[in-house]
């Protein structure tokens, strides 16, 4: 139990040690620690934000997909409808065309028949005239009897 010069030395060493810790140790350790803490907090906040953004993007992607699916459905419907329409059109056009062709053919046939009849009539006329001439042994003035002949031919 004694007090001596050691006390003074101890106080001096302590003072130097406090100064050293204050100057070179404490701020050099705590500063980077707080900086690191700040960075970690920032990183976590960024991660949170990223996750949020991902959720948002996922939701928007889903809505876009849904919309696209809906639109595709609409387009398919439309396509089907227009295909049916086109088919109907084509069918009716073909029917009409067929009818038209048939009508034209019939007309043609009638025309041909009429023409054939006409020819036949003329030929029969001519034959009749020739036959009559032969019968009469003389020539009938074709011109004089033309009216008679054509009337005759028309009656055929």
């Amino acid at each position: 139990m004694h007090i001596n010069l050691t006390l003074v030395v101890q106080m001096a060493v302590f003072a130097v040690l406090i100064w050293f810790t204050m100057k070179f140790v404490w701020p050099m350790i705590l500063g980077p620690m707080q900086e690191r803490e700040r960075r970690i907090a920032q990183g976590l906040a960024a991660a949170d934000k990223g996750e949020e953004e991902l959720d948002r993007a996922r939701a928007s992607a889903e809505s876009i997909l849904r919309e696209a699916r809906e639109r595709a459905g609409v387009i398919v419907d439309q396509a089907q409808r227009s295909a049916t329409e086109i088919l109907d059109h084509a069918r009716s056009a073909a029917t009409q065309e067929g009818q038209r062709l048939v009508a034209a053919a019939q007309e043609q046939i009638e025309l041909d028949a009429a023409r054939a009849k006409e020819q036949l009539r003329q030929q029969v006329g001519a034959i009749a005239v020739a036959a009559a001439a032969k019968l009469l042994e003389r020539e009938i003035d074709a011109r004089a009897h033309e009216a008679l002949l054509s009337e005759f031919a028309a009656q055929l």
């Binding site: 004694h2 007090i3 001596n4 050691t6 040690l17 070179f24 620690m33 960075r39």
Partner: protein, 286 residues
């Protein structure tokens, strides 16, 4: 047993004697110096400052990476001390936190020297020709008062700096008794001064003696446990009862060592916390 008493007394006394430049006879003598306390204090100061400075040098580059090994250990201590300081002191004084760290680590290292086997370093010193060696600076009154008086000076310094000389004087004389009556107040002043001075001076004294008492007692227990086998010759120790004594000493020393591990930590902690509290009080206005 009677013949053995001088040996026991001598052994204990040896563990109470410092390595000084000359024998100290009076209680206070400033021409005497304890070489052992100074040596171990400075050594432990270098250990603390060196290891923490080593980490501090590397800390700046580790902002982008996780701390590892010794660095995380040091950062853990620093953060813990920082939170202790923040709990008590809310001002801007940049001295208190580093001071608290210094006190905790240095006192802990002082106390930790108590866990070095009591005879190891003194016996090594004897082979080097040194008659005595006390390895625990906190069992030296100079060691503990060196800390507490420095803290005391800082307390006074900041009290005067924050409150002004008059404010500090008022703190010493106008509490705890006060009166609106000027005359009664004048009567109270000396009473208050005595009370407050005692309170003020009790702080560094209790700070130092609490640490000293705990660690000194702890060391004494280790010394007393060493007495178990001190009296026996090597031949005696080789006998059955000798083995029993050695085992008993080892067991008790181990148990006390584990318990003491708690004590040295708590004492370092108390010294640190009280220092923070006292300095925080020095910054407070009443």
């Amino acid at each position: 047993m009677a013949a053995a008493q001088p040996q026991v007394g001598g052994y204990i006394l040896e563990h109470l004697t410092f390595l000084t430049n000359k024998p100290q006879t009076s209680l206070v003598n400033f021409t005497v110096i304890d070489y052992d306390t100074v040596f171990f204090s400075v050594l432990l100061a270098v250990v603390f400052a060196g290891s923490f400075y080593w980490v501090a040098r590397r800390a700046a580059g580790s902002v982008r990476s996780a701390p590892r090994g010794f660095q995380s250990f040091v950062e853990m201590i620093v953060e813990w001390v920082d939170s202790q300081v923040r709990d008590v002191y809310h001002g801007t004084n940049r001295l208190i936190a580093p001071l608290a760290l210094t006190i905790f680590c240095w006192v802990y290292l002082f106390n930790f020297m108590d866990l070095v086997p009591v005879d190891l370093l003194p016996d090594l010193a004897k082979t080097m020709g040194l008659p005595h060696l006390k390895v625990v600076p906190s069992t030296d009154l100079n060691g503990v008062f060196g800390l507490s008086l420095t803290v005391f000076i800082l307390m006074i310094f900041y009290s005067i700096k924050v409150k002004g000389p008059l404010g500090f004087l008022g703190e010493l004389t106008l509490h705890p008794f006060s009166s609106k009556n000027k005359f009664v107040q004048a009567l109270f002043v000396p009473v208050n001064f005595v009370l407050e001075s005692v309170t003020l001076i009790a702080r560094p004294v209790s700070l130092a003696l609490r640490l000293f008492g705990n660690i000194f007692a702890g060391e004494m227990i280790f010394v007393l446990l060493a007495l178990l086998t001190l009296e026996h010759s090597y031949a005696g120790l080789a006998s059955m009862s000798g083995w029993g004594l050695m085992l008993l000493q080892a067991l008790l020393t181990f148990v006390w060592g584990v318990f003491h591990l708690l004590i040295i930590t708590i004492q370092a902690f108390i010294f640190m916390v009280l220092t923070i509290v006292y300095l925080a009080m020095a910054h407070e206005h009443h």
